[in-house]
């Protein structure tokens, strides 16, 4: 029997509230399963187990707030996947117990903590080659919330243990719907995700407000409640983005490249495919481009990985962070794991699932911390080009501008083609413009043969 404890987010998190239970007594658990969700000041984060076994029982009730490290549930038997004893552990705050998932700020994958934060290591995807975190100087790497690495580093881990389903009914990711159902039927009021996030951002106690109302609480309601307490400009979300981006601009010597890519062939490919498909199976140009970027990244290792402790640690898998706009403001870039080896269809399904969960305000710790390169796109209503700011500890970000009809020269003739400007912002400590140019051209080549992606 082992205890599952309230996960730690870092020095500024003292307590969390259990808001959803996804498992009940007797359920079989596999490492990576989501067992519930906790609400912190930074939003709702799903909690995963890192052991196999049987769920015994919950020790706290929904709505109950308990301090970090307090037992939330009991898990029976099974092979517990203990981190090795050498695992660095924070020295000041209570160390997160091995089976918990640290809750990251729900923004960029890497948010510097307070300077006095305990030593933290940069979370590394399991397969990242040479990086064995040792206790590091806290001032060198103000990394993101530390992930318990030991539960997953076994390279023989089966892909099913990665908590991203590769096949998922895109309409209703199972981990969302039952939660909401349970939540609404029990203590929590009906509330839209946008309203819930806003309430969390502004520190409004929704349960107190909701008593006696049977209507769904919307963002407008929250704004009305908050109207009196004006003046809080910087939300937690924005503060976290500011911290990560300021660190990036301060530490990373960016260089930038730009390349116009003809998407006419890719566009025809998508149209031809989609004409044969039900809406649920249709492709988006964004997914085709993501696949083209992932395939190119696999061949240019100097753009894929993390820079920490004054050296670059390349990653074998391409965990492609995909920047997703959040309706209530802000941006997150959770990872599509192993994007280079996913088929285009699977990548599209995963992207759909990820977008849906992000919009609902739910994603997992690993998705935020383990991206190894990022793709940002402003979409069809965006501008011609976007020049990204690298998310530390990553070393590159690819930007995709809006695709639109433009004059272009094809075989010496002027033609109207669907063009999009792709950009690369990369870390000069790791690569240079020559390789960057080859990388962007590789993306271009991949997009000229979309059927091979």
């Amino acid at each position: 029997m082992s205890e599952f404890r309230m996960p730690s987010l870092g020095s500024d998190m003292e307590a969390g509230t259990l808001v959803e239970k996804a498992v009940a007594s007797g359920d079989t658990l596999r490492s990576g399963d989501v067992i519930g969700a906790v609400e912190t000041q930074k939003g709702v984060i799903e909690i995963e187990v890192y052991e196999n076994g049987t769920f015994d029982r919950w020790l706290v009730e929904i709505g109950q707030t308990v301090p970090v490290g307090a037992p939330l549930a009991l898990i029976r038997g099974g092979e517990e996947v203990e981190p090795s004893p050498e695992e660095p552990s924070p020295s000041e705050t209570p160390p997160a117990p091995p089976e918990t998932v640290p809750v990251p700020p729900e923004t960029e994958p890497d948010i510097p903590e307070e300077p006095e934060a305990p030593p933290e290591t940069v979370p590394t995807p399991p397969e990242v080659e040479p990086f064995h975190p040792k206790p590091v100087e806290p001032e060198i790497v103000p990394g993101p919330p530390e992930l318990p690495e030991a539960p997953v580093p076994d390279p023989n881990d089966t892909p099913q243990e990665i908590p991203i389903p590769t096949h998922i009914e895109p309409e209703f990711p199972p981990e969302i719907v039952p939660f909401q159902h349970e939540a609404t039927s029990q203590v929590r009021p009906r509330i839209t995700p946008a309203a819930r996030r806003l309430a969390a951002e502004r520190g409004i106690d929704v349960s107190a407000f909701a008593k006696g109302t049977s209507d769904t609480i919307t963002r407008r309601d929250i704004e009305a409640i908050d109207a009196s307490k004006s003046g809080r400009v910087a939300t937690d979300f924005r503060t976290a983005i500011a911290a990560a981006m300021a660190r990036s601009k301060k530490e990373i010597p960016h260089y930038y490249l730009s390349h116009d890519i003809d998407l006419t062939i890719a566009e025809r490919f998508v149209a031809t495919e989609n004409a044969k498909r039900e809406p649920a199976d249709r492709l988006l140009m964004g997914a085709v481009c993501a696949k083209a970027v992932a395939a190119a990244t696999a061949k240019f290792p100097e753009f894929n990985g993390h820079y920490s402790n004054n050296s670059f640690h390349p990653s074998k898998p391409v965990n492609l962070g995909f920047a997703i706009n959040v309706r209530s403001g802000g941006l997150v870039a959770p990872a599509l794991f192993d994007a280079e080896s996913l088929s285009l269809n699977d990548l599209m399904l995963n992207l759909r699932d990820l977008t849906k969960r992000v919009r609902a305000g739910r994603f997992r710790a690993r998705e935020l911390s383990d991206a190894t390169i990022t793709l940002t796109s402003l979409g069809e209503r965006g501008t011609d080009a976007v020049f990204g700011v690298i998310y530390p500890p990553q070393v590159a970000i690819v930007g995709m501008g809006a695709a639109r009809a433009r004059p272009a020269v094809v075989n010496g003739e002027l033609a109207v083609r669907t063009m999009a400007t792709f950009t690369l912002a990369a870390d000069h400590r790791v690569s240079d413009g020559h390789r960057g140019a080859l990388f962007l051209r590789a993306i271009d080549r991949n997009l000229q043969t979309p059927e091979e992606l």
Binding site: E171, P193, A195, N274, P279, A280, R282, L284, G286, E380
Partner: protein, 79 residues
Amino acid sequence: MTETETALSEELFKIAPDVELADIDRSADLREEFDIDSMDFLNLVTALGKRFGIPMPEADYPQMRTFNDLARYLSSATS
């Protein structure tokens, strides 16, 4: 509101719960009015296709440009 308009506004609420139908221009670009991107739009089309049991082909997307267009499209596709 007609039945299709009600259904459409329900599906839009799932995607853009922060936008009130009363606040939007129903004859303006749906994506602008509801601030939805191509992924949101695909999810909307998927949900409506399922709800009404119609294929919603991509070739018909130009007929789904505004709220009113889309409501009209759904009415004629289901009648």
